[in-house]
């Protein structure tokens, strides 16, 4: 089923989704992403390798983004070239909710950026 691959770059965690992610795996994904947010990390999620993602996962990403916004950050989303997740976000009009990146470096930069007005640093 679904696996997560984690990579840390400075204060950003890049989470790569592999395989299939759905309602049954979304709660643990949501918990991990929000834990990173509360520990002060920026979070980038690469969905380009995911074979299947459903709306429960989109909700988990939205909730993680809300947790990150509370820390003055945004969740960065990275798509693949022919990515089924991108289509799901477009169909549901949720793509605009996320900071979307073109490549890995941009995703890490977006996830690492903090809003100076709200950042505690």
């Amino acid at each position: 089923l679904g696996q997560l691959e984690l990579e840390q770059v400075d204060d950003v965690v890049l989470v790569r989704l592999h395989g299939e992610h759905d309602l049954s795996t979304a709660p643990s994904l949501s918990e991990r992403l929000r834990a990173f947010a509360s520990e002060g990390y920026g979070v980038a999620v690469d969905v380009g390798e995911a074979e299947f993602v459903d709306l429960a996962v989109v909700r988990a990403l939205i909730h993680a983004d809300e947790a990150l916004r509370a820390q003055g950050r945004r969740l960065a989303l990275l798509f693949g070239t022919s990515c089924p997740v991108k289509r799901l976000l477009q169909l549901t009009g949720t793509q605009e909710m996320f900071a979307c990146a073109e490549d890995r470096d941009e995703a890490i930069a977006l996830a690492g950026a903090t809003n100076p007005a709200r950042s505690a640093r």
Binding site: S24, F52, L55, R59, I62, M97
Partner: protein, 130 residues
């Protein structure tokens, strides 16, 4: 879990998240066997998954219950029916992406018919042209 072959899909599983993966596999195989294109099958899998996820989330309380999935050919298309024996509790998922499941199914399929929730549960039927 029981399934019949090529012409009809008919399975009943517990309405629990871990069964969604197996249901997606069955829809994919059935769609491809019926001659649907890869992209059409992707739509079917996504739509049926959301209908089944709704049942898992909303149909039953603690005790759980069955989720029924049927699929059959109809003229130039395929029909999938997802049903449950649950009680009428319509509680939308809170948050900004709550309540997107049915609109998504409408976008992916040509026709959607919902009966219930009522005394005999809920039945959602979606039709995909081939």
């Amino acid at each position: 879990m029981s399934e019949s072959g090529y012409s009809e899909l008919n399975v009943t599983v517990p309405a629990q998240g871990p069964y969604l993966h197996r249901l997606r596999q069955l829809v994919r195989t059935f769609g491809l066997d019926c001659g649907a294109s890869d992209s059409r099958v992707t739509d079917m899998v996504l739509a049926v998954n959301e209908a089944c996820a709704n049942v898992v989330q909303h149909a039953y309380g603690e005790g759980g219950g069955p989720l029924h999935l049927r699929g059959w050919r109809q003229r130039d298309g395929l029909v999938f029916e997802v049903s449950d024996n649950g009680t009428p509790v319509a509680k939308p998922v809170p948050g900004r992406a709550g309540g997107l499941g049915i609109p998504l199914i409408r976008l992916l399929s040509e026709d959607v018919d919902v009966e219930g929730p009522g005394q005999y549960g809920t039945r959602l039927e979606m039709t995909f042209k081939l």
